[in-house]
Amino acid sequence: MIAAALVGVFGVAGALLRFGIDSWFAHHSSIRSIRTDGTVKLHWPWATLLVNVGGCFIIGVAHGLTGRLGLGSEWQVALATGLAGGLTTFSSWTTATIRLLSEARFGSAVLNVGINLAMGFAAAAAGITLAG
């Protein structure tokens, strides 16, 4: 019961943080999208990359940290399933990749898949090492 409540609170926190980062990137790219030389800046899912890498670091840290601080397993669930799960997103990652493919931006699509995976694994490993 406590774990379910913690997942809710931390999941909402992760979702709001992701929405804030997404909105920040959308706002700043829209400012920069109109350039004096007339070129339009192409969208690229930076915000999703950032939240996914950040969330992989958090889930890596979660296990070792809760053990070290002597916290119960419900806190590990809160950080891993709640915070990291709410912060990261799989559906936006795949949908953004399909959007890039639909615009015939094949290199960007491949890069979006590869860089999320590579940096996600590196961030998770860094978190595990740091907290372990």
Partner: protein, 134 residues
């Protein structure tokens, strides 16, 4: 930046999405050392629905922003998870279960993208037929 209603909508959607994912994980727990099928299913379903809604909303840009925020970044963003895929793959690799983590990662990427692609097309077809276009 978005208004208060949009933030509240994301919070509500995020609560439902996180609890749904947590609840499914309790109801259908992923077995240790095996492909986490529940997480895989969640991510495939979420990819299909988000991509379908994305093209529907592109065709209907007047859909209320708070509603899109509640369902997209809120519900589906929180329901699906990237960190669990990476963490489970990392743990399986550390346990030398190499065929398992490679299968899991390949299925996640291939089926996730296929689901998003199918959703993208479905959303387009749905909005075209509704608007009476060929």
């Amino acid at each position: 930046m978005p208004n208060g209603r949009a933030w509240l909508a994301v919070a509500a959607g995020g609560l439902v999405g996180s609890e749904l994912r947590y609840g499914l994980g309790l109801a259908l727990p992923d077995a240790a050392g095996a492909v986490p099928w529940t997480t895989l299913g969640i991510n495939i379903i979420g990819s299909f629905v988000l991509a379908a809604l994305t093209t529907v909303w592109m065709a209907r840009p007047h859909t209320a922003f708070w509603l899109r925020a509640a369902v997209g970044p809120g519900l589906l963003g929180s329901f699906t998870t990237f960190s669990a895929v990476i963490y489970a793959s990392d743990q399986l690799a550390r346990a030398d279960a190499h065929p398992v983590w490679i299968t899991y990662l390949a299925l996640s990427v291939v089926l996730g993208l296929a689901a998003a692609g199918a959703g993208w097309r479905t959303g387009r077809l749905v909005s075209r037929s509704r608007d009476g276009q060929p």
